[in-house]
């Protein structure tokens, strides 16, 4: 014998509003972590600055881009993309930690939107990337980066970078949910990131790579996005690369969001 309470029927529009509210709550929670453990934010900013300085001053003299562009102008757009790509690892680590600590267990028993845990994570990482890009722009200017494109084009490039980073976050969310713990999540992430960021046109022109590698290094998403940004920032044949980058990014979001949400739903069953 049981007592049945009235089942609240929730209007679809209200459900969307609630899902957004839940996402905002989780985003806020993840951002608070940066204020509590500022050292994490500090080091996630130190690495990009280091890359800018190293490539600028160590390899900078030895690498000569074909189009007579100063290397620092060639390099910076690539470092932007490489940095946010590396930053996506924190998405997988963060989620793996939440799973490990049992926090996700509590979330699962709450009447909140299922996707909000993931959307809140990726949104918080997007916020962090905005800060990263701003700081890197400052450091770039300090070491002689002088983009010749318009301010609008520069902002468009930044938008492209952030969108790319956001899409990548969802991919790494999937990894984080599949890893048994945060250490493994980290270890699983790097073998994917190294070829994507280094076998690319981020730091060097692809024309000196062996033929078999050149195709991959030209058309893979990091390269496409780096090239698109470079063209936007310092001038070049913008359209095709921007379109390719947007296609990669959109495709990635379309595939990875459902996949990550599915992984989240199924990871306890």
């Amino acid at each position: 014998m049981s007592v049945a309470t009235l089942a609240p029927r929730v209007h679809p529009a209200r459900r969307v509003a609630r899902a957004l509210g839940d996402t905002a709550t989780i985003t806020r929670r993840n951002l608070l972590h940066y204020t509590r453990v500022p050292i994490n934010l500090f080091f996630s900013l130190v690495q990009p600055v280091m890359f800018v300085l190293l490539f600028r001053y160590v390899f900078g003299g030895a690498i000569h881009p074909p189009s007579k562009v100063p290397y620092v102008d060639f390099l910076l757009p690539g470092v932007f993309v490489q940095t946010v790509a590396f930053g996506a690892v924190s998405t997988s680590i963060g989620l793996a930690e939440d799973l490990q600590q049992g926090l996700v267990e509590r979330f699962r028993a709450l009447p909140m939107a299922r996707a909000a845990v993931l959307a809140g994570r990726t949104s918080a990482d997007l916020c962090r990337n905005v800060v990263v890009v701003v700081i890197m722009t400052g450091v770039g200017f300090a070491v002689g980066f002088r983009p010749s494109g318009s301010a609008t084009a520069f902002l468009a490039a930044v938008g492209l970078i952030l969108l790319f980073a956001y899409a990548l976050s969802w991919g790494f969310a999937f990894i984080g949910l599949s890893a048994p713990n945060s250490e493994t999540a980290q270890v699983m992430s790097f073998p994917l990131l190294f070829p994507l960021t280094f076998a690319s046109s981020s730091f060097v022109p692809v024309q000196f790579m062996p033929g078999w590698l050149r195709g991959f290094a030209t058309y893979q998403p990091v390269s496409v996005t780096a090239t698109a940004c470079r063209d936007l920032m310092i001038g070049g044949p913008v359209a095709t690369w921007v379109v390719q980058s947007v296609l990669w990014t959109t495709g990635f979001l379309v595939v990875m969001i459902p996949l990550a949400v599915w992984r989240y739903r199924s990871s306890s069953r």
Binding site: M1, S2, V3, A4, T5, A7, P8, V10, R18, G21, D22, T25, I26, R28, R29, L32, H33, R36, V37, Q101, G102, L103, E105, R106, F107, R108, A109, L110, P111, M112, A116, S268, R269
Partner: protein, 372 residues
């Protein structure tokens, strides 16, 4: 009588490297506004049952309802009715107590002012106001557990699931938590509590189900379960096996239960502790036997298991066994020097080593002296 929670033939098998039959046909019903205790050792399936009832996990088969709503088909309704506090203290280390509670309130879609007021009231009620704006990292185990429980209460759930809420807590914190639970039930909340401690189940639960290897092996009121066992256990440790044999014979007359023996430790369940102790000491004295250890204690979960299954609790569940002292401070009042030599249980457990369950048995048996 209406039931707030019903579980009907729940089954769940975890397939991994080793197939684990976590629930093997578990059924029970929980009366509204009472505490129902799921009592069992680690690995018995208690947590799996809670996870199914709180919609975190799907059962392979069987049905479960919370206030009439099916946990598999109407999970989003069930989630609005329940609160969950777990042994794994699912709270955010880096947030403050207030932030943790506020987050849970917001995720329950309560309005901002409602959340603010309730959070403040809960922090106050749980004695956490002073620590409210400190990160959880700085909290003690007891404070953390209280916050975990407070988080489960923000939405004022009708049904509360508490998965081993006092495991690892000091006696004072444990008592505080018990009082909170009793107040909640007085106000109409239904509580499903899992525990390894017979004492806790005895204190809080109106009805109990004893779970072992994914099955309910006994059900009833705590009084009934204890009465089936006899009220008190008399434990006598001897110098050697020869003395133990003679003690077995000497204590057989105590009745109605027969003594059992593990190595050089003899145990017998008796109805009237102090009287039985006097009789036993006289019998031993007349036989010229000097025990090295003589204890009266309340029956522990281990005794319940021994009585119900003929084997020691904790088979295959050893890893957390060290925390599993079935503390019976109550037993200390029943006789001289009772219940301080926790070591004897350990000797007894490892001495038998049968079924590879010595580890878990020793841990469960060793709790007479209480916990750290």
């Amino acid at each position: 009588m209406t039931h707030a929670i019903t579980a009907d033939d729940l089954r769940k098998v975890f397939r991994g490297r080793r197939e684990v039959r976590a629930l093997d046909g578990v059924s029970f019903a929980v009366e509204e506004a009472t505490v129902f205790g799921l009592l069992g050792p680690n690995g018995a399936g208690k947590t799996t049952a809670v996870r199914i009832l709180t919609t975190i996990l799907r059962p392979d088969s069987g049905t479960a309802r919370v206030l009439g709503h099916d946990v598999v088909h109407e999970p989003s309704v069930v989630r609005t009715l329940i609160g969950l506090a777990g042994q794994y203290a699912a709270v955010d280390e880096h947030l403050t107590g207030r932030e943790n509670l506020t987050m849970v309130g917001r995720l329950n879609h309560l309005g901002r002012t409602v959340v603010r007021d309730r959070v403040a009231a809960l922090l106050d009620e749980f004695g956490l106001t002073d620590a409210a704006d400190r990160p959880l990292k700085t909290y003690s185990g007891g404070m953390r557990r209280r916050l975990d429980l407070a988080a489960a209460l923000v939405a004022r759930p009708s049904v509360l699931f508490l998965d081993e809420p006092t495991t690892g807590l000091d006696p004072q914190s444990r008592n505080d938590l018990w009082e909170v639970i009793e107040t909640l039930v007085d106000n109409g909340t239904t509580v499903l509590l899992t525990t390894q401690y017979l004492e806790e189940a005895d204190r809080l639960a109106k009805m109990l189900a004893v779970v072992d290897q994914g099955r309910v092996i006994a059900e009833g009121t705590p009084a009934k379960l204890k009465a089936d066992l006899g009220a008190t256990v008399l434990e006598v440790g001897l110098h050697d096996h020869g003395d133990a044999d003679r003690t077995m014979a000497a204590l057989a007359a105590l009745g109605p239960h027969s003594p059992t023996r593990e190595g050089s430790l003899v145990e017998v369940t008796v109805d009237d502790g102090p009287r039985a102790a006097m009789t036993a000491l006289r019998a031993l004295d007349s036989e010229g036997i000097t025990p090295i250890h003589f204890t009266l204690r309340e029956p522990s979960l281990d005794d319940v298991f021994l009585a119900l299954t003929g084997r020691r609790a904790g088979g295959g569940a050893g890893q957390d066994g060290t925390e599993a002292g079935t503390g019976t401070e109550a037993g200390a009042g029943t006789g001289a020097g009772a219940g301080t030599e926790a070591g004897t249980g350990t000797e007894a457990g490892t001495g038998t080593g049968s079924e590879g369950s010595g580890q878990g048995a020793s841990a469960l048996g060793a709790g007479t002296g209480g916990r750290p």
